[in-house]
C-alpha cells in the first residue's frame, strides 16, 4: 500500500493531469529533491522557489488570481508563522471584493511532532490556521484520506490548507488508493526517485490513478462505541485508535473514535451525534493547549450538549511551553503519547456519572 506521502504525490499527479494544477512549488519542491519529504518527486509542474515563504504565498495568490491552480508548499509549518498575515489576506480576498475573486489555491505543509524535530520542526499549526476565516483546513491521518482530501483541496475554489502529519508521512495505508498498483514494491519502483546518479535521468512511470474525493468537512468514525467519544486527527489519531483498542480488550468498553480530518469546516453532525450517544468526550491533539482549536470544539459541545454530558469533557493537548526539546524526554512529556491518551481515555470512560 502507498504511504501517506506517496498518496500526496499521486494526488498531485492526478491534479496536474486532470484537475488543472498549473504549479507545484516551494523550497526544494522541484528536481532533484522533490520535497524534503519526497511529496513532489517526479511531478511535471514542480519547481524550486527561492527560500522565501512570503514570496511563496504571494506567488500562489498571484497565480490563482490569474487563472492558475497552484499548490504551494511551506517546507515545515514552523516556517509559516512569518507569513500569517498573507494567509489572512488570502482568506479574505473573496470576501473583500464581495465575491469577485475566488482564490483557488492549495497550501500544504508538514505539521506536528514525531520526527525528533526539536524546537523548529515540531510545531502544530491547526489552531493558528483555524483563526484564518476564508480558508478551509484539512489534516489527513492516512494515505487514502490524504489522496482524497488533496483532490478535494485542489478542486475547491477557495484557499485550502493541507496539514500533513510529519510523523505519519511514511506510514502505509490500509486501503488501496484507486489506481494504485497491487504491489507496493512496484509502486515504489515507479514513483520513488532513486538516490544518487540515477536520479538525474529518472522519470516516474505514473500508475493510472482515478479520482477519489473525500469531502471537506466530513469526519470519519474509525471505531464505533458508546463508552466515550474521542475526537482526534493527525499524529494522535492512530494513537487514539490504539488506545481505544487496548481499552476495549482491557476494560471491555468500546470508545468511539472520530478522525476529524477537516479542522474547518469540521463535521459538527458527526461530533454532535456521537456525544449525544456517549455523553463522554475526549478531544486529543498536539497543539499547545492555550487557545487550542480543541477548546472551540469543547465550547460548542458544552453549549449544545451540556445536559447530555455525563462527565466533564476534556481536552488532551500539548503543553503550553515554547518548544519541543530534542531529548526525547521533552517530546515524550510535551505532546500526548499513547500512554497519556490511554490514561485520559480510561478516566473519561470510568468516571462515575
Amino acid at each position: 500500500m502507498a504511504t501517506l506521502v506517496q498518496a500526496v504525490r499521486l494526488a498531485l499527479h492526478y491534479g496536474e493531469e486532470h484537475l488543472g494544477v498549473t504549479d507545484v512549488f516551494g523550497e526544494d519542491v522541484g528536481p532533484p529533491l522533490g520535497g524534503v519529504f519526497t511529496a513532489t518527486q517526479g511531478l511535471r509542474t514542480a519547481w524550486n522557489s527561492p527560500l522565501d515563504e512570503r514570496g511563496i504565498i504571494g506567488m500562489a495568490m498571484g497565480i490563482a488570481y490569474a487563472g492558475g491552480r497552484p499548490v504551494a508548499e511551506i517546507q515545515f509549518c514552523d516556517y509559516g508563522f512569518n507569513v500569517i498575515d498573507l494567509l489572512k489576506v488570502a482568506g479574505n480576498q473573496y470576501w473583500a471584493g464581495a465575491g469577485q475573486y475566488p482564490l483557488p489555491m492549495v497550501v500544504m505543509t508538514p505539521s506536528g511532532s514525531g520526527i525528533r524535530g526539536s524546537l523548529y520542526h515540531s510545531h502544530s499549526f491547526e489552531s493558528w490556521a483555524s483563526r484564518l476565516p476564508g480558508w478551509k483546513i484539512v489534516m489527513p491521518s492516512n494515505a487514502l484520506d490524504a489522496y482524497g482530501l488533496m483532490l478535494s483541496a485542489i478542486e475547491d475554489p477557495n484557499p485550502v490548507l493541507v496539514l500533513l502529519p510529519k510523523a505519519l508521512l511514511r506510514v502505509r495505508g490500509e486501503q488501496r488508493l484507486p489506481g494504485e498498483p497491487d504491489d507496493e514494491n512496484e509502486l515504489k519502483e515507479r514513483i520513488d526517485a532513486p538516490v544518487g546518479e540515477a536520479r538525474t535521468t529518472w522519470q516516474p512511470r505514473w500508475p493510472k490513478m482515478e479520482p477519489y474525493f473525500v469531502p471537506i468537512g466530513k469526519a470519519s468514525t474509525v471505531r464505533e462505541g458508546d463508552a466515550c467519544t474521542v475526537i482526534s486527527y493527525g499524529r494522535t489519531l492512530p494513537l487514539a485508535v490504539q488506545a481505544a483498542d487496548e481499552l476495549a480488550t482491557e476494560l471491555g468498553n468500546r470508545a468511539e473514535v472520530i478522525d476529524l480530518r477537516s479542522i474547518f469546516p469540521y463535521d459538527w453532525k458527526c461530533i454532535s451525534q456521537s456525544v449525544s450517544k456517549t455523553g463522554r468526550l475526549l478531544i486529543v491533539n498536539e497543539d499547545t493547549e492555550v487557545t487550542n482549536f480543541g477548546e472551540h470544539l469543547l465550547r460548542r459541545v458544552i453549549e449544545h450538549h451540556f445536559y447530555d454530558l455525563l462527565v466533564r469533557p476534556r481536552l488532551l493537548a500539548g503543553k503550553h511551553v515554547p518548544g519541543i526539546g530534542l531529548n526525547q524526554v521533552y517530546e515524550q512529556n510535551t505532546v500526548p503519547q499513547l500512554r497519556h491518551i490511554k490514561q485520559a481515555m480510561s478516566e473519561v470512560i470510568l468516571e462515575q456519572a
Partner: protein, 361 residues
C-alpha cells in the same frame, strides 16, 4: 468641451500641437484630457475628505498630489479581464488611475459612503481600496506591501501566454519598500530564465505617515535597489504628467516587449497628509501637480475659463454622485457572512458547498 480651450471662442482655433516639458512633449489635446482627469480625481477626493469630516463616511485615505502620475499610468493600461490584459496591484492612493481607466466617480463615493451598491467591496473596505475583476484590479489591502509579493504571480501567468503583451503593474509607497515583500518582488520577478513582465512602481512622497523617508532609508534612490537584480529603472518627476507619461510608456514598453521587469520611482506630493487620521489638512508646503500643470497649459495659451470649467464640471459631477450614493441602500446584517467562500460542490465540501453559513451545524 463646448468652446475652444485656447480662446474660449466657439470658433475653430489653431492649437499648438505639442506641449513640452524639457525635451518631452504630449499633444495639447491629450494634455487637456489628462488635466480633466486630474481635476475630477482631486475634486472627488476633496469631497470625500469632507464626507469623512461630516460623518458621511469614516476613514479617508487617497491620492491628492499623485494625480499626474496616476493619470499618466492609467491612460496607458490595457484594461480588461484575464492574463491577456494588464493586472493592477494597487496602493490606496490610486483613485486618479482608476478614473483614468474609466471608473465613474460614483464608484469611489459609494465605497466612501459604505453602501451596498459599492461594487468594490459591498461597503466593507476603506475608500480607495478598489477591487474590480473585470479590469484585473486585485483587491487593495491596507496591509503595506503584500501586493508586491503577489505581483510576480500574475506576471508569471502572463509570461506563459504566447503572444501576450499583458503586464502586471504593482504600486506602493517608498516607506513600504522596507518590508521584505518588496525584496520578494525583486527576487521573484527575476528568477534566472523566468523573469516576468512586472512594472514595479514606487510612488515616493517622502513620508511613511509621519516618518521622513530620509530618516530611515539610506539608499539614494529606491530604484537603485533594482540594480543588483538587473532590473532597469528610472526616477521620474511624478508631478509632471508629461514626463510621467513618457517614463510610464518606456517602462510599460519594456515589460510588454521583453517580458521582464522594469522599475519606476515617481516622486509625488501628498497634499492632505497621510489620511483623515492625521487631519487630512491641506499641506501648502507641497507642490500641487494640478496648479503646476495649469500654469504650463496657460503658458501654452489655454484659456483660464476652460480650466475653470473643468473644475466646475467636476464639482457638479461629484455632487450628483454624492447625492445619488447617499440615497442608496446600505449593507444588511445578512451580508456579514456573504462571499466568505466561493461556491464549491457538496462532494467537495459537505458543509459549505455554497457559501459560509455560520459555524458548522
Amino acid at each position: 468641451m463646448n468652446s475652444d480651450p485656447l480662446t474660449g471662442d466657439d470658433a475653430v482655433a489653431i492649437l499648438p500641437t505639442l506641449v513640452y516639458s524639457g525635451r518631452e512633449s504630449l499633444p495639447l489635446e491629450q494634455c487637456l484630457t489628462i488635466h480633466r482627469l486630474m481635476v475630477r480625481a482631486r475634486v472627488m477626493e476633496e469631497r470625500m475628505i469632507k464626507m469623512s469630516k461630516s460623518g458621511l463616511g469614516h476613514f479617508w485615505i487617497g491620492g491628492p498630489g499623485e494625480e499626474a502620475f496616476n493619470v499618466a499610468l492609467g491612460l496607458q493600461i490595457r484594461r480588461g479581464q484575464g492574463p491577456r490584459y494588464d493586472y493592477l496591484h494597487l496602493h490606496y492612493r490610486n483613485s486618479a488611475l482608476m478614473l483614468a481607466l474609466g471608473m465613474p466617480v460614483i464608484e469611489s463615493i459609494r465605497q466612501m459612503a459604505m453602501t451596498a451598491t459599492d461594487s468594490h467591496s459591498l461597503g466593507r473596505n476603506f475608500v480607495g481600496h478598489f477591487c474590480k475583476r473585470e479590469w484585473n484590479v486585485i483587491p487593495v489591502t491596507s496591509v503595506i506591501e503584500v501586493q508586491y509579493a503577489m505581483a510576480p504571480g500574475t506576471a508569471l501567468m502572463q509570461k506563459r501566454l504566447p503572444d501576450s503583451e499583458g503586464v502586471t503593474v504593482v504600486l506602493g509607497g517608498e516607506a513600504g519598500t522596507a518590508e521584505g515583500d518588496f525584496a520578494s518582488c525583486l527576487i521573484w520577478s527575476t528568477l534566472p530564465g523566468r523573469e516576468v513582465p512586472v512594472l514595479i512602481v514606487v510612488t515616493n512622497n517622502g513620508y511613511g505617515i509621519s516618518t521622513p523617508a530620509c530618516s530611515v532609508h539610506s539608499e539614494r534612490h529606491v530604484v537603485d535597489r533594482g540594480i543588483p537584480f538587473g532590473v532597469p529603472g528610472e526616477v521620474v518627476d511624478g508631478n509632471d504628467p508629461i514626463r510621467a507619461w513618457h517614463a510610464v510608456e518606456r517602462g510599460l514598453m519594456h515589460c510588454r516587449a521583453t517580458r521582464t521587469p522594469f522599475f519606476l520611482e515617481a516622486n509625488v506630493s501628498r497634499l492632505f497628509g497621510h489620511s483623515s487620521s492625521s487631519g487630512a489638512l491641506r499641506d501648502r508646503t507641497q507642490e500641487d501637480p494640478i496648479e503646476r500643470f495649469e500654469r504650463i497649459l496657460l503658458d501654452e495659451g489655454v484659456d483660464r475659463g476652460h480650466l475653470d470649467q473643468m473644475h466646475e464640471d467636476a464639482h457638479t459631477e461629484v455632487e450628483q454622485a454624492v447625492e445619488q450614493a447617499l440615497n442608496e441602500p446600505m449593507p444588511r446584517p445578512e451580508d456579514v457572512e456573504r462571499y466568505t467562500y466561493a461556491a464549491s460542490r457538496p462532494e467537495i465540501d459537505a458543509v459549505y458547498p455554497d457559501d459560509y453559513t455560520g459555524l458548522p451545524n
